[in-house]
Subunit: 101 residues, 2 copies
DNA sequence: CAAGCCCATCGTAATTTTACGATAATAAAT
DNA sequence: ATTTATTATCGTAAAATTACGATGGGCTTG
């Protein structure tokens, strides 16, 4: 990208909403989150069984959801249990609600 | 991308929600839509004045929002008036609502 | 018909995303 | 201490995204 202006400054809510939306902007990640909602929690391996994707790809999607704050991982050796991050989930929820008025 | 499986088939709602989310996944596009909500409608030129971005860049963002179905353009020569596509907007709204339960 | 205004599109470049296989890391169990 | 199970990370490659300037097309006005 040719960026003449480095960063454009948007309002915090705008940036945050875009960040959440971006994380939701892939069908696999939507499906993962739906799965997490229905199961409340699950392990990486469960998802690898459900989706026809490489384990590393699933892991990458989980990483993005985690970076966006939508999920969190809890160590349950040798597995990792992923759950919705309820706090940020609620923030996202109200940002989207406000956005759609 | 190395795609061994061509396309993964997700449920329609999942694909649609991801498509809307992807379109919302950039702060400039969020800001454009907020602007459109407050003004109800506006011209491309108005946005070029508001955002420190090249006219072609604004146009490209508008194109993506249009492709996602979130906005529509009406010819008002020599300008083009952009508005929220209310029908799809409502679809997006309820998809996000359902998603966040 | 020419000139001007507004906007989309083209061509281009840097960056990011998406995906894979292979490898490394971590903790438990043997 | 070695093995096993599970998951993250690395290296890589193709494609998509984001941005710019320049060009072109459509419509109105002179």
């Amino acid at each position: 990208m040719k960026r003449s202006l480095g960063h454009i400054e948007y309002k915090d809510d705008t940036e945050t909403l875009a960040k959440f939306a971006k994380a939701l902007g892939h069908p696999t990640r939507i499906a993962i989150l739906k799965h997490l909602e229905s199961q409340s929690c699950c392990f990486t391996g469960d998802l690898v069984d459900v989706f026809p994707l490489a384990q590393s790809t699933i892991s990458q999607h989980l990483k993005e959801l985690k970076n966006a704050g939508l999920i969190q991982g809890e160590l349950k050796p040798p597995k990792i249990k992923y759950c919705i991050n309820q706090e940020n989930w609620n923030i996202a929820k109200s940002l989207f609600q406000d956005f759609f008025k």
